[in-house]
């Protein structure tokens, strides 16, 4: 075996080794990138869910009897009816 052949084999081994290292590094970096992307999306999801919850809470608050009655009185001039002003219809049920 001549020296040139030995040299060629050594370069090939080194090249394969470098390629393997590069592949591992590339895979790790893309994995980390994906994980960071997932983390970012999770945080965005949590923020969106938080905003949705805040909106739902506002809706609940606005649906409350106390607020509705006060606003109906203020804006429309309405008040809860007195007993004799309530018409009971027989269609309703418990």
């Amino acid at each position: 075996m001549t020296g040139r052949v030995r040299m060629g084999r050594a370069i090939l081994v080194l090249a394969l080794y470098a390629a393997a290292l590069t592949t591992v590094a590339w895979r790790q970096s893309t994995t980390r990138e994906t994980i960071e992307e997932i983390g970012r999306l999770s945080r965005e999801l949590a923020v969106e869910a938080d905003e949705r919850e805040a909106l739902a809470r506002d809706v609940l608050s606005l649906e409350q009897r106390r607020w509705v009655a006060a606003e109906a009185g203020r804006r429309l001039g309405l008040r809860p009816p007195r007993e004799e002003e309530v018409v009971i219809t027989s269609g309703g049920s418990r």
Binding site: T34, I35, E36, I38, G39, R43, A46, V47, A49, D50, E51, E53, A54, A56, R57, L60, S61, Q64, R65, R66, A69, A70, E71, A72, G73, R74, R75, G77, L78, R79, P80, P81, R82, E83, E84, E85, V86, V87, I88, T89, S90, G91, G92, S93, R94
Partner: protein
């Protein structure tokens, strides 16, 4: 080379051997240690390595929701963030302080405190939304930890009933009593960590998934609960009471539809369940039920109530007014302590005790709430000579407002006492029903015939007796008022002005009860009688729920139960849920602020001073004010009930007592003689009637 001594061949051999042996020994030690590490201590080292690379985390289970009977969320769980600071890791303290102030809204001093100092770890007070903490991401030394938190989206509605959650544990109310159902089971996961101990995103292995808590559906109706809280709050404001309770139940099923208490301005406590008081005249229907049940007396039997004052065993029992012969029916309507005490003397102790016990007094109702008080009903062996008399008008026993509501419910339910239901359903987290709360009868406290006989009497209380301020024009109520002295901190009666409990229980409508309302006010100022303060609250509550969107009432049955009412003279058209105020300046719900001003009447007024006036003059003045008059006797006016100056609304009944007033005993009725069993040491002066 002359000065250099070369070692001999022998020495060299020794040195080489020594070196070799040393190396061999070192190698042997190393190998032995390696064997020890790899084989003997393998498990321990493996565990330590694992601990460095992985961490086990408890995964909290989502706590179950609490819903009202219509599925409206009263308590839910959501994620909040806790923020921790590691001061030693902070690179730029001013940047962290600015971020905490800007995103979390904490004060600058707080931000400086948690981000400085020599400590290794500080926690920023409070819990924050995900939106808030998003601005802190990337800051060195700032750590955000998500954790579940409890949210009550209805702004404090049913606060005392629901309780709170602290550190994941239910405290008070349903949160505490149903904690094991709501809490679920925590899970466990393994999270990978990098060389610095930080969690590696995505490297998570769920070892044991968490099991979410179950949802609890209450029998509470959020609309009714809101009405109850509003009415109680308005009554407390208008009467100056220290607190109060309001309970609404379905007497047929025992379901609690609304339950609220106010103690020292807060609705966090539940005095309706865990605080007892002497019920006063509200117990009289139950005393009457005992008399009827044991056939000791009939409603038409009468006793002499003297001049409204009767001395027995050294104690004086007195009434607010009146006197003379009264039937049992009249005794209840006028809430005569003397009359009821005399009637009670006809019963044996056992008869009185068993009936009261059968109505549930002295034992917890079994409502699933922590700290329920059982009340006090002593056994007959422990009674004094006066006890049967005292018990007859509501003293010497202690009850909770919930017990009173359930007992009144039995009167409205053909004598059948029901167990209070607060849990309508328990659902798995996927919505599958796991458990139902079904109506559970406790016992027949009295036969249906007794309650049939008593209902018209209780209707009469509202129509013409002490409960006229609960009277409704469209429906008949059956109710009873009560007033008792408040008990102070030392366990003794308070003798201060206005130190009374005022209460009123009513079933609606009287003929086919769908709702039972029980109101208790703690030390109302000014007018303190139950009929004057608590009765209007019951009426206002029923009036409001009639107009509520989803009140759990059978409107078909109500339409049948309604009595004919001539159309109101008001030009305003009838509407179902709201009435136009018209040209009047907008007024945000004035009626809500003062329940006493609502109902059949309009503005409040006071009873005029009529003492000494002739009957004709008195009648004219009272009728002119729109009041109903119940005249007793003839001649000149001696007094009125309510008295001159008392608050009243049009439509109420005023009893006019005259100087020649001495009503004869009813012709058909038996008369009852009450004989004292002996002298006793009683010294307590009588208190009040209804």
């Amino acid at each position: 080379m002359t000065g250099l001594r070369r070692p001999s061949g022998k020495n060299l051999r020794i040195r080489r051997r020594f070196l070799l042996v040393t190396w061999l020994l070192v190698a042997a030690v190393l190998i032995a240690r390696a064997v020890e590490v790899q084989l003997v201590e393998r498990a321990a080292w493996a565990a330590e390595a694992l601990a460095q690379h992985e961490t086990s985390k408890v995964v909290p289970a989502a706590r179950g929701r609490i819903l009202d009977r219509n599925g409206v969320e009263l308590a839910v769980s959501h994620m909040r963030a806790a923020v921790g600071i590691a001061p030693r890791e902070i690179m730029d303290r001013e940047l962290v302080v600015a971020a905490l102030v800007e995103h979390l809204g904490v004060r600058t001093a707080t931000a400086r405190r948690v981000s400085g100092g020599t400590g290794t770890w500080n926690v920023v007070p409070g819990r924050y939304s995900m939106t808030q903490v998003e601005g802190l991401r990337g800051l060195k030394g700032v750590y955000v930890e998500d954790e579940p938190s409890r949210l009550y989206p209805r702004d404090g509605l049913a606060r005392g009933l629901l309780g709170v959650v602290q550190d994941g544990v239910g405290m008070g109310g349903i949160e505490q009593s149903m904690d094991s159902v709501l809490a679920g089971q925590t899970g466990r996961e393994i999270v990978g960590r990098d060389s610095r101990g930080r969690e590696v995103p995505g490297q998570v292995v769920v070892v044991q998934p968490p099991v979410a808590g179950r949802d609890v559906v209450l029998t509470i109706d959020q609309d009714l609960q809101a009405i109850a809280e509003e009415m109680l709050s308005a009554a407390i404001d208008s009467t100056g009471a220290r607190g109060g309770d309001l309970v609404i139940t379905d007497p047929v099923t025992g379901e609690i539809l609304a339950l609220t208490s106010v103690v020292d301005g807060s609705n966090a406590a539940l005095s309706a369940v865990n605080t007892t008081y002497e019920p006063g005249s509200t117990i009289k229907p139950f005393t009457a039920a005992a008399l009827l049940r044991h056939r000791v007396a009939e409603l038409s039997d009468s006793v002499d109530t003297e001049d409204g004052s009767w001395r027995i065993h050294g104690r004086r029992i007195s009434d607010i007014g009146g006197g003379g012969w009264l039937t049992l029916r009249d005794v209840i309507r006028e809430s005569s302590n003397v009359g009821m005490a005399k009637f009670a003397g006809l019963m044996s102790r056992g008869q009185q005790y068993t009936t009261l016990r059968d109505f549930g007094f002295g034992t917890p109702t079994g409502v699933p709430l922590p700290g329920e008080a059982s009340g006090v009903l002593r056994r007959p062996e422990q009674w004094s000579l006066l006890s049967n008399h005292s018990l007859s008008y509501g003293y010497e026993l202690a009850v909770t407002p919930l017990q009173m509501a359930m007992a009144f419910g039995a009167l409205a339910n053909d004598g059948l006492l029901m167990e209070p239901i607060l849990i309508r359903e328990v659902r798995d987290h996927d919505g599958t029903p796991a458990r139902y709360g079904r109506p559970r009868p406790v016992r027949h406290a009295v036969p249906p015939g007794v309650t049939e006989a008593l209902t018209p009497v209780l209707v009469n209380v509202v129509e013409e007796g002490t409960g006229t301020r609960a009277r409704m024009s469209s429906f008949r109520l059956a109710g009873k008022s009560g007033t008792t002295r408040a008990i102070g901190a030392g366990g003794r009666y308070e003798h201060k002005q206005g130190a009374y409990y005022a209460s009123f229980g009513a079933s609606f409508p009287a003929d086919d009860p769908q709702l039972l309302v029980f109101v208790r006010l703690d030390r109302p100022q000014g007018d303190y009688y139950g009929g004057q303060t608590a009765a209007p609250v019951a009426r206002a509550t029923i009036e409001s729920l009639l107009a509520a969107r989803q009140a759990p009432i059978d409107r078909g049955a109500l339409a049948l139960a309604a009595r004919h009412v001539p159309p109101p003279s008001s030009p305003a058209p009838l509407v179902r849920f709201a009435a136009a105020i018209g040209d009047a300046p907008p007024d945000p719900w004035p009626a809500a602020a003062d329940p006493q001003s609502r109902g059949a009447g309009s503005a409040r007024m006071t009873v005029p001073l009529l003492e000494g006036a002739s009957i004709r003059v008195a009648l004219r003045r009272l009728h002119k004010l729109g009041l109903r008059v119940r005249l007793e006797g003839g001649g000149v006016v001696r007094a009125t009930v309510p008295g001159a100056g008392a608050g009243i609304v049009p439509g109420d009944t005023v009893r006019v007592l005259t100087r020649e007033h001495s009503p004869p005993a009813p012709a058909r009725a038996r008369t009852v003689n009450v004989v004292a069993a002996g002298d006793g040491p009683g010294t307590r002066a009588d208190r009040t009637g209804g």
